[in-house]
């Protein structure tokens, strides 16, 4: 509890991180209240060919798309897709990656080596390349994008947790709890995990931004949710036929992606400054 209030107090002092938190809150609120905020909520599935490709005006804040649907309303509903993909994909990656990292870090032997080499293979290829291969084989849908991202992102947490667990193992309090006869699961869950939680939180926050970018790229390539889904990457891809006349078409979804990813990156940077004591020290050095 004490750490949580410390964290919030520190975050409130860091205006840049606060801006990040603000952008993320905006995304969450948008996703929750999309039906109320949208001016044309039916436009997710409805077409109005008469009104196609109209520029931004009071009737349509961000203009209309090739089907005559209101881009502003579609962006709001797109926030739901973005959050769903990012939260589930990252959640699954953490749930797979952290236990594997703990086990590989705690035990020494061929099994640990095998686990780490497996994660190295996944890290040896750029995430989007494997994600493309998986999403392509499974067919375009949101579920498959989530699956492809989860399957390629878990090793990031495995690496991190493995390294931190290994460095904690020589600490006296870990040795003491082992000497007292605590079973391995107890040492891992109650003694090691709480101490590496801050690193996991930082990595997860920054990972959200990266996942949203990759998901948008998959959508752009046509591997995401099929039409007429208001997925931001897909909207940008659709707009290309109508450039340069319909300049507003790609502007709004691109800005939406930018703001959300920026939010997670800024918050992640701020959290790292607060939670990582090594950086805290170099910061003090920095401002000297």
């Amino acid at each position: 509890m004490e750490t949580a209030s410390f964290l919030i107090r520190k975050l409130a002092e860091d205006r840049v991180a606060l801006l990040g938190a603000l952008l993320i809150s905006l995304l969450v609120l948008t996703a929750i209240f999309a039906p109320f905020l949208a001016t044309h909520p039916a436009d997710i599935a409805e077409f109005h060919p008469v009104e196609r490709l109209q520029g931004p005006a009071t009737a349509h804040f961000f203009g209309t798309d090739r089907m005559g649907s209101d881009i502003y309303s579609r962006i709001l509903f797109g926030a739901r897709i973005t959050i769903t993909i990012a939260v589930i994909a990252i959640g699954v990656s953490v749930l797979i990656g952290v236990p594997i990292g703990l086990i590989a870090g705690y035990y020494h032997g061929w099994f640990s080596d095998m686990l780490m080499r497996t994660s190295d293979i996944f890290l040896a290829v750029p995430q989007i390349v494997l994600a493309i291969a998986i999403a392509q084989t499974l067919g375009p849908s949101i579920e498959n994008v989530i699956l492809a991202l989860s399957a390629t992102y878990w090793p990031f947490w495995t690496r991190l947790v493995y390294a931190e667990t290994r460095s904690l193992q020589n600490e006296v309090f870990i040795e003491a709890s082992i000497a007292l006869g605590a079973p391995p699961w107890r040492v891992m869950l109650l003694h090691i995990l709480p101490n590496i939680m801050s690193s996991i939180i930082v990595r997860t926050t920054i990972g959200m931004g990266g996942t949203i970018l990759t998901a948008a790229a998959l959508g752009f390539l046509g591997l995401g949710a099929p039409a007429p889904s208001p997925e931001w990457g897909r909207m940008i891809s659709e707009s290309r036929e109508f450039l340069p006349e319909a300049w507003w078409y790609a502007t709004a979804p691109g800005l939406a992606i930018f703001m959300v990813v920026m939010g997670f990156n800024l918050l992640g940077d701020g959290l790292r400054d607060i939670l990582d004591p090594r950086i805290r020290r170099s910061r003090a050095h920095d401002s000297k």
């Binding site: 040896a124 750029p126 291969a133 392509q136 084989t137 948008a216 790229a217 992606i257 930018f258 990156n265």
Partner: protein, 334 residues
């Protein structure tokens, strides 16, 4: 001696990693689809056609035999034929590697040429308005979707201002193929027109790729310079009366760059990932565009070929960076 161990160790892990990568692509292509043959044959195939295709592709064999054959053929550079053009995938991929490599090399040079000076300026003027502005600029580079930036640049410079071509690699026929890098080949031919055409086509895709990579370079150079500038040898050089300019740009920078060089592996990862979408936007005839076209044609053989080749390029780059790092900074060779 330690260095030799490092090099051997890295080489030793190269083969299992590539083998593991093949195991992953094999799993994706042979195990995940409920019936890969029906998937390949399409919806209209009859049962006899499917069975014939199954035997032809060797998919009626047990899984371990399939895996063995798959690894054997990939090692020999055989990725099978494209399900769309029926041409060998290895030919298609080989003809497209130079375009992607040329683009990524130019992007790396561009991002280093701009990123390193910006990182130094940022560190020397730390916590000034300039430093904060540069921070916003670089953080944005890591948050912007590459395909969106590509479209914005196209919209402004190609469509509105007409300063650069919209897409493609060169006007008309390319230069005689020697290195297959158009910028070099056109100079070898002595044809300035083709060189200028290739350079102007290169401009927008290279900038799009370079921006996020540059952001990473600025961050690490800034951190490296800040660390080096507080060390004792800098104090000594100041006492010796070296001008500040010489100390920063000559002595400090050289030490600061070690950290930046080790990030080239990471930067290359960003570049390959972004090249897929950037090549698609600029119609740049490289590996990325090939992958995108294969996605549109559901050509899963070609996608797996692309995955293996992109993976191997990435693994080789990281191998080189690791070894180079061992030479630059012997402390790191554990």
């Amino acid at each position: 001696m330690k260095l030799l161990v490092l090099v051997l160790n890295r080489f030793f892990w190269f083969f299992p990693t590539v083998l593991g990568l093949m195991l992953v692509t094999f799993t994706i292509s042979h195990v995940i689809p409920a019936d890969p043959v029906a998937f390949v044959a399409g919806d209209n195939a009859t049962n006899e056609q499917i069975e014939a295709l199954r035997a032809q592709l060797g998919l009626d064999q047990p899984v371990h035999v399939q895996l063995y054959r798959y690894v054997l053929s990939v090692v020999q550079g055989d990725f099978g034929v494209s399900l769309y053009t029926l041409r060998p995938i290895s030919h298609d991929l080989a003809s497209r590697v130079p375009a992607t490599l040329e683009l990524t090399f130019v992007a790396v040079l561009l991002s280093a040429a701009i990123g390193i000076p910006l990182g130094v300026i940022s560190a020397v003027n730390r916590n000034s308005l300039l430093d904060h502005l540069l921070r916003v600029f670089t953080v944005s580079g890591l948050a912007i979707a590459a395909f969106w930036l590509a479209i914005l640049l196209q919209l402004l410079f190609a469509m509105e201002l007409g300063w650069t071509p919209l897409q493609g690699r060169v006007d008309g026929w390319g230069p005689d193929e020697v290195t297959r890098f158009y910028l070099i080949d056109s100079l070898l031919m002595g044809d300035l027109d083709i060189f200028l055409s290739a350079a102007s086509h290169m401009m927008l895709p290279a900038i799009t790729l370079a921006y996020p990579a540059m952001a990473t370079i600025v961050r690490f150079t800034r951190a490296g310079v800040l660390e080096a500038i507080n060390s004792n040898y800098v104090m000594y050089e100041e006492a010796m009366g070296f001008p500040r300019r010489v100390i920063v740009w000559k002595f400090v920078l050289r030490n600061a760059l070690i950290g930046t060089v080790t990030q080239i592996g990471l930067i290359f990862g960003i570049l390959i990932a972004n090249a897929v979408v950037v090549e698609a936007v600029f119609d740049w005839p490289g590996l990325g565009l090939y992958a995108v076209q294969s996605i549109l044609q559901s050509d899963y053989n070609a996608i797996m070929g692309f995955t293996v080749v992109a993976g191997v390029i990435f693994i080789v780059v990281n191998l080189i960076v690791d070894i180079a790092h061992g030479f630059i900074d012997p402390r790191e060779s554990r």
